[in-house]
Assembly symmetry: C2
Homo-oligomer: 176 residues x 2
DNA sequence: TAAATAATTGAGAATGATTAGCGATTGTTG
DNA sequence: CAACAATCGCTAATCATTCTCAATTATTTA
């Protein structure tokens, strides 16, 4: 699926009775020029545009990212930060997931198509139609680990159980 | 990892200088008696307790579910509904994921340990410490499909690209 | 091409979930 | 039992997001 051009965005919008406006075009461009692995909140997008002297009202920002997400152009991410983030929606084979540090919010993308495969299988098994699947791996980054995690976890995070402890042990035995 | 008893909850709380209160105990009980695959928002939990004549203030509800999530007793879910949901955190081998209908919000649990395995591998590869991993599969349920999806999608949902189309084709060839 | 129609914008008000502040209450410790 | 700290319930505050509405701008029609 090729990246959007203004023309293809216009076509897609028009096919639904919607319009290509300068605002929507600018927003698309921001996302298209975002470094790989980056994603923006509505507020951040607003600032980026403001700094470029292309200010767009926050209302319009919110409306546009929602619309474009619903069209499948953007992807709405629920990382662990209290607000949504957006990135270009690049379906398979560019589909990816996120590893997030619960301490500093550092976020890394990673690819793993087998997750999409499993999700697709499960979705079909239930008779559903797949739209998207988002895996969010919550973890603690090396810096935090070095600083003595788990004892040095921020006071609002006290969880010390490593969910996969047992799995890891099994893994070693099976060497699957 | 066995389900919590009031005693073990008390022990875990006390070990961090926190206390077992009647409110926290009641909240734990609600989650322990929840049907499999169910999960509650703060508001819903509040109502459940009210109906049982065990009203707890909404503030305390919010404070408690957050605390218990951070302790690893509850699991905070970001399904597609604008507010958080909570369920007992049952690590591997009870770890599971969610399939959500974006039209009616119907949610189904499913298990797939390989997803946890992949997440663990990725997490270790980056030098992170795994805390939890949550896969949310967004899809459209059979009822919605029967009603003519995608054309009958609610007007605020226009995405018609099936992310995994190509993957599905590959799947057939490889028969992996 | 001008008028009619419908979509879109911007600004600010409104909403809804969640958090914070505070005085009163209740465990815990010595 | 006294001293201390955690917790509760209430209300007010916050923050992201949505809504309202008059003004603007595409698109379609005549």
């Amino acid at each position: 699926m090729p990246p959007y051009t203004s023309a293809s965005l216009k076509a897609e919008l028009n096919s639904r009775g919607w319009r290509l406006t300068p605002q929507r075009e600018k927003i698309l461009h921001v996302f298209q020029n975002l470094p790989r692995g980056d994603h923006l909140s509505a507020e951040e997008l607003h600032q980026v545009l403001e700094e470029r002297g292309e200010a767009i009202s926050l209302s319009t920002i919110y409306r546009s990212v929602k619309l474009m997400s619903r069209m499948g152009i953007l992807r709405e991410l629920e990382l662990a930060e209290g607000h949504k983030h957006y990135e270009l929606n690049q379906p398979y084979p560019h589909h990816h997931h996120h590893l997030v540090c619960i301490q500093c919010n550092k976020t890394l993308e990673f690819k793993n198509d087998s997750i999409l495969k499993h999700s697709l299988k499960q979705t079909e098994k239930e008779g559903f139609q797949l739209i998207d699947c988002q895996l969010t791996v919550m973890a603690v980054c090396p810096e935090a680990v070095r600083m003595g995690w788990p004892s040095a976890l921020p006071s609002n995070w006290a969880c010390t159980r490593v969910v996969a402890e047992r799995l890891q042990e099994e893994e070693k035995k099976e060497d699957s």
